[in-house]
C-alpha cells in the first residue's frame, strides 16, 4: 500500500500538467499535453496492478507456481501495448499538426475555421 502512494502523487501531477496543456489554444501545447497524458495513463495502469518489491519470478524446482507473490505481469503487458499505440498516435498527430500549420498558417485552434466557417449563411428560407 505504501509503495503506491508516491506513484499516485506523481500520476496526479502528470494528469494536472497534461490537462493544463490540453486546455491551451496552441496545437503544439495540446500535443505535448497528449504525450504527458499518455504517460500518466501508463503509470496509472501500472499502479492499478499493485506494486511489489523486487522478487524474481523464478519457480523453484519441483513446483509449478512461484512461492512468493511476484509482480503482476498483466499490467506490464497492457502498458507495453498502450505505449506502442500512444507513440504511433503521437507521431501521427505531430505530422498532422505540422501539416496543418503549413497549410492553414496558424497553430491556434480558435483560428482554424475552414471546416467550420464563422459566419454560415442561413439555409434558403423561401421556396
Amino acid at each position: 500500500m505504501q509503495i503506491e502512494v508516491g506513484l499516485v502523487v506523481l500520476i496526479a501531477l502528470f494528469f494536472s500538467g497534461a490537462f493544463y496543456l490540453l486546455l491551451a489554444p496552441q496545437l503544439i501545447r495540446i500535443i505535448l499535453g497528449v504525450t504527458i497524458l499518455g504517460n500518466a495513463v501508463n503509470l496509472l495502469i501500472f499502479t492499478a496492478g499493485r506494486l511489489t518489491r523486487e522478487v524474481p519470478p523464478i519457480i523453484p524446482e519441483g513446483f509449478t507456481l512461484p512461492q512468493e507473490a511476484t509482480a503482476n505481469p498483466l499490467p506490464q503487458a497492457l502498458v507495453l501495448t498502450a505505449i506502442v499505440i500512444s507513440f504511433s498516435f503521437f507521431v501521427f498527430l505531430f505530422v498532422l499538426v505540422m501539416r496543418s500549420y503549413q497549410e492553414l498558417g496558424t497553430d491556434e485552434s480558435g483560428e482554424m475555421r475552414i471546416s467550420e466557417p464563422e459566419s454560415v449563411p442561413l439555409p434558403p428560407l423561401d421556396y
Partner: protein, 540 residues
C-alpha cells in the same frame, strides 16, 4: 491476478485449452482476419489502382459470406467462443460470436461491399495509390474486432485500430479543409480513447479482470465502498465522445463533411455505432451494481436527459445548416440520441428497438450520403442555395432519395418506423412520458429537415442565379467533382450500391419479422438471463 493464480489453479494443465477449436468455429475470427489480409494484399499492389479495387471487392465478398455463415451458425448452435493462444478465458483473450454481434457484423459486411463498389466511382487513382482501400479494410477489421471481442482491453486495441485507419481515411486528399477537420477529429477522439484506457486501468485495479464475463462476476462481489459509479461515469464519458452524444459531439460536425463522400458514408454508418455498441456492452455489465441514489439522480433519468439533448441538438442543428453534408452530420447526431433513449429505458423491448435502429441507420445513412453526393457533384457543391433540379436530371435517384428520407425520419411503412415504434412503445410502457414526447417531436423535426432537402435539392427547378448575400463560397474541396454519369459503368457503380441498400431497407420494411426476431434475440442475449431477473425488467 497473481493471487488468483495461486489460489484457484493448482496445475498448469488446467489453465490451457487442450482440445483444438473445430474448423467451423474458426469462422469467429474470419471477419477480422479476412480484412487484415485484404489490407495487406492491397498494400502489396499499391501501384496498381485497378487491382486494389478488385482486391477490395473480393475480400469484402468473402467477408459477407463469412459473416452470414457465422450468423447462421450462431442462430443454429448458440454463441461460439474462441480463445487465443490456448490460455483459458480469464487469461487468454476471447472472441465471442453471439446473436447481437453477428447481426452487426453481417450488416457491416453488406454495407462495406456496397461502399467498395461505390468507391470505384468516388475514388480516383491517386487516392487509391495513397492507400484508400487498405485503410478502408483496416477500419473494417477494427470495427469487426470491436464487435466480436469479449475482452475489455482487446476492445480498446480494436478501437485504436479503427481510429488510426479513420485518421488515414479522413486526410486522404490532403486539402486544407480536411486537415482542419482532421485536427479536431483526431485530438478529441484520441482523448476519448485515452479516457477509455483510464477507465480500464481503474476497473482492472478494482476487479483484477479484463474478460467481460469475469468483470460481470467480479463486480457483483466488490464492496459497497468501491467507486464503481465513478468508473462507470468515466466509461460513459469516453463512449459518449466516441458516439457523439450531446455535450461532447463537436468533433463530428467539424470533420465528417470534409473527406470524400465514400469515407463520410463509411464513418456515418460505423464509427459512431461502435461507440454505442461499446456503451451497451459496458452498461449491461454495470447495471444492477451501481447506485446513484445518494446524488438524488437516477441513472435512467440522467441517460434520458443526455438522449433528449442529443436528439434535439442534432435535429435543430440539421434545420440550421445550408451545407448538405453538414446537415446529414447533424442527423447522425440526432440518431445517436434515439439509441441513447433506448439505453435509458433499458428493458428488453427498448434494447430491441436500439438494435433495429442501429441496423436501420447503418443501411440508411450511407445510402443517403451517396444520393446526396450525386446531387452535389452534379451541381458543383453541397450548398442548399445552389442545389436543385435533380428530379429532372435523375428521376430514379430522386425516388430512391425520397424513400431513404422517409426511412431516416421513421415514416410509417418504412424500416425507420419499426425501430422508433419499438422505442416509443417501450418508453410509454416503462413510464417515461417526457422521453416519449421528445421521441415524437424530434422525429417530426427530422421529417421537416429531410423533406426540406427533398424539396430544395430534388423537387424544385435548378436555381438560375444564386443570390449573392446568402450563398456559401464555391466549394472546390471536392476534387473528384466532375459531373457523374448515371449511365454506363459509372452509373452502375453509383446506382448499384444505392439500389442494393434501398432494397435491403425496403425488404425489411415490409417483412420486418426476421429482423425484429433477430434483434430481440440479440437484446435478450445482451441482457443475459440473470441480468433480466435482477433488473426486474424495467430500468437500468
Amino acid at each position: 491476478m497473481a493471487l488468483a493464480l495461486n489460489s484457484n489453479i493448482l496445475s498448469l494443465g488446467e489453465a490451457f485449452v487442450t482440445t483444438p477449436v473445430p474448423w467451423g468455429d474458426q469462422l469467429v475470427i474470419a471477419p477480422v482476419v479476412l480484412m487484415l489480409l485484404g489490407a495487406c494484399v492491397g498494400m502489396l499492389f499499391q501501384a496498381y489502382p485497378r487491382v486494389q479495387g478488385l482486391n477490395a471487392l473480393v475480400f469484402t465478398i468473402l467477408l459477407l459470406f463469412s459473416t452470414l455463415l457465422l450468423f447462421a451458425r450462431v442462430a443454429e448452435h448458440g454463441p461460439i467462443a474462441m480463445t487465443m493462444g490456448r490460455w483459458l478465458p480469464p487469461f487468454g483473450i476471447t472472441f465471442l460470436a453471439n446473436p447481437f454481434n453477428t447481426l452487426l457484423t453481417s450488416v457491416t459486411a453488406f454495407l462495406a461491399l456496397c461502399l467498395v463498389i461505390y468507391g470505384w466511382a468516388d475514388s480516383d487513382f491517386q487516392l487509391r495509390r495513397y492507400g484508400f482501400y487498405p485503410l478502408f479494410m483496416i477500419l473494417l477489421a477494427g470495427v469487426n474486432g470491436t464487435f466480436l471481442t469479449d475482452d475489455l482491453f482487446n476492445l480498446y486495441v480494436w478501437f485504436e485500430v479503427l481510429l488510426i485507419a479513420s485518421f488515414g481515411l479522413l486526410i486522404l486528399g490532403n486539402s486544407k479543409i480536411q486537415l482542419d477537420g482532421a485536427v479536431k477529429y483526431a485530438f478529441l477522439n484520441f482523448l476519448a480513447t485515452t479516457l477509455f484506457l483510464i477507465s480500464i486501468g481503474y476497473l482492472y485495479g478494482l476487479v483484477g479482470a479484463l474478460n467481460f464475463q469475469d468483470i460481470g462476476q467480479a463486480l457483483k462481489e466488490v464492496p459497497h465502498s468501491a467507486p464503481i459509479e465513478t468508473i462507470f461515469v468515466l466509461f460513459v464519458l469516453a463512449f459518449a465522445i466516441k458516439a457523439a452524444a450531446f455535450p461532447v459531439n463537436f468533433w463530428l460536425p467539424a470533420s465528417y463533411h470534409t473527406p470524400r463522400i465514400v469515407v463520410t458514408a463509411l464513418f456515418a454508418a460505423l464509427v459512431t455505432k461502435v461507440g454505442i455498441y461499446a456503451l451497451l456492452r459496458i452498461s449491461v455489465l454495470f447495471m444492477g451494481q451501481i447506485d446513484f441514489s445518494p446524488t438524488g439522480f437516477s441513472l435512467d433519468s440522467a441517460l434520458g436527459v443526455l438522449a433528449i439533448a442529443t436528439m434535439f441538438s442534432g435535429v435543430l442543428g440539421a434545420l440550421a445548416q445550408s451545407d448538405l453534408r453538414r446537415l446529414f452530420c447533424y442527423l447522425i447526431i440526432s440518431g445517436i440520441g434515439f439509441m441513447l433513449a433506448g439505453l435509458a429505458i433499458g428493458n428488453l423491448q427498448a434494447l430491441t428497438g436500439v438494435i433495429v435502429y442501429m441496423v436501420t441507420s447503418m443501411g440508411t445513412l450511407p445510402a443517403i450520403y451517396i444520393a446526396g453526393a450525386v446531387a452535389g457533384r452534379c451541381s458543383g457543391g453541397f450548398d442548399l442555395h445552389r442545389l436543385g433540379g435533380m428530379y429532372g436530371r435523375a428521376p430514379f435517384l430522386s425516388g430512391l432519395f425520397f424513400i431513404l428520407a422517409l426511412t431516416l425520419s421513421g415514416f410509417p411503412p418504412f424500416l425507420g418506423f419499426w425501430s422508433k415504434f419499438l422505442l416509443l412503445k417501450a418508453a410509454l410502457e416503462a413510464h417515461f412520458p417526457v422521453l416519449a414526447a421528445s421521441l415524437l417531436v424530434s422525429s417530426f423535426l427530422t421529417i421537416l429537415a429531410v423533406m426540406r432537402v427533398w424539396s430544395y435539392v430534388f423537387w424544385r427547378a435548378a436555381p438560375t442565379a444564386v443570390e449573392g448575400d446568402g450563398a456559401l463560397p464555391f466549394d472546390d474541396s471536392y476534387s473528384c467533382s466532375a459531373t457523374p454519369r448515371l449511365s454506363g459503368w459509372e452509373g452502375v457503380c453509383i446506382l448499384g450500391p444505392l439500389l442494393a441498400l434501398s432494397i435491403f431497407l425496403i425488404a425489411f420494411s415490409f417483412f420486418p419479422n426476421f429482423l425484429l426476431e433477430s434483434a430481440s434475440k440479440a437484446a435478450l442475449e445482451l441482457l443475459s438471463p440473470e441480468a433480466v431477473l435482477q433488473m426486474g425488467g424495467i430500468s437500468l
